[in-house]
Symmetry: C2
């Protein structure tokens, strides 16, 4: 093992901090994974690590050495950081002393597993990383066959997506595509697209969500694009009472997903 | 109008910052409301303001003077803050130049409006203000008769509850009570309590959620207390697939609430 890096001004520390920026992630094809649970899920899902940074004084439990051995034996060199340096690279309130650098995976539509009557979540131009991560976590809990991210506004490898997804980013089959490619891909596979639109006449409870179905959810601020609104097979809404403008976008997606789960039992 | 406060070191600025702490809110009976939308909803809901702080260079639109006139004519003095001082008291990333100090309302069970077959959301010991706020927003969208907050871990008047609730904190009928008082109150009114427990045998879709019903949701980390688990009329679960431990607590509450809405149409 090399010498610990003590200085927060060290160039490698600065490079890690830079990976919080989308431009750096897009350019390098790398991203950050922080925390015991997230690293464990990534490892189990076959994510390839290029580096592992640790800070033993910050460990929360006693299982860290096992996880570290598994990651380093898969080929990622380990570097120890001093506490000040680790706190600088951590994006959490309570750092756990474990930060991995990993390779982004290819995420094209043609790599998605084929299933006979899939339930798919399609999300378009989600802006908040926390919402996108929560949608992944909820889609995983609903047992979807895949999540398709159309025209991303926040990229999938934003640290807050990784965090809010609780590691499901690594386990849910994922594709990134344009809206038009997604529409063509769904149509070519006989998968009906069901667009969720606030105020749509048909209540989601009255729509048939069995069979091969993609639930399509739009951005927090603008909803679905005109392209989706013109080309979706069906528009459904969630009847709401109350004074607030609408549900949070991730909440609306979760309620729609579990209505599909209910119908498909 | 008095002179603008320029210095972030001014005592009144410090007092406002202190209201972010629960102890200060509990002691004074006051809390902070920031932003155009939240202040408008609070005003419409009859919330009583004791002070209004403004910073005109930060206004986002042109409707601020109307809102300010309405709040000040209801009796709250207005004080102008310089930009540095306002940024210090603001708890938002993008301050809008509007911050009110308001009186907390009495929130006892006996003040809740009486309805014949209410749908009520009961939440116990929620820890994260953002989750509690999202639960209020979602309960509002589901048209609940009331939200009862049992044994609060985060108080209702935390600035992040106010923010995440999008102002529904002021419009949804609310009570704060102990778990045992809540159980007694529900039983006395013939309201069935339905506890949501991860892994419960009965799926929520197979439970009858019509009539007078309280859906009971536990804390993020510990779930429902033994008291609730022993005394609830029914335990229901949400069947889940996937690798993540569970849904976010607010998401689980939202899915349960809208299943009740579906059954009660």
């Amino acid at each position: 093992m090399s010498q610990p890096i003590i200085s927060p001004q060290n160039q490698r520390v600065k490079d890690l901090v830079r990976l919080r920026q989308r431009r750096e992630r897009d350019g390098s094809g790398l991203f950050l994974i922080e925390g015991y649970r997230e690293l464990t899920r990534a490892l189990e899902a076959g994510v390839v690590f290029t580096d592992l940074y640790v800070c033993p004084p910050l460990y929360l439990g006693s299982n860290e050495p096992g996880l570290i051995a598994a990651i380093t034996s898969a080929g990622a060199p380990m570097t120890e950081l001093g506490e000040a340096a680790f706190r600088k690279v951590s994006y959490r309130d309570r750092p756990e002393g474990l930060l991995g650098v990993a390779r982004q995976s290819p995420t094209t539509l043609d790599r998605l597993p084929q299933t006979v009557t899939p339930l798919i979540l399609v999300v378009e131009s989600i802006e908040k990383p926390g919402n996108l991560g929560t949608m992944l976590r909820t889609a995983d809990a609903a047992g979807v066959a895949a999540v398709v991210v159309c025209d991303p506004a926040t990229d999938l490898y934003n640290p807050n997506v990784v965090r809010a997804s609780l590691g499901t980013l690594f386990t849910v089959p994922l594709a990134i595509a344009t809206t038009s490619d997604t529409i063509e891909w769904l149509a070519g596979r006989g998968i009906r697209s069901v667009a969720t639109i606030p105020g749509a006449r048909l209540a989601i409870w009255d729509a048939d969500l069995t069979g091969a179905v993609a639930l399509v959810v739009g951005s927090e601020q603008y909803g679905l694009s005109p392209t989706w609104r013109q080309q979706a097979d069906l528009e459904v809404g969630l009847p709401m009472a109350g004074s607030a403008d609408s549900l949070n976008a991730a909440m609306a997606a979760g309620i729609a997903l579990f209505e599909a789960v209910r119908q498909r039992r």
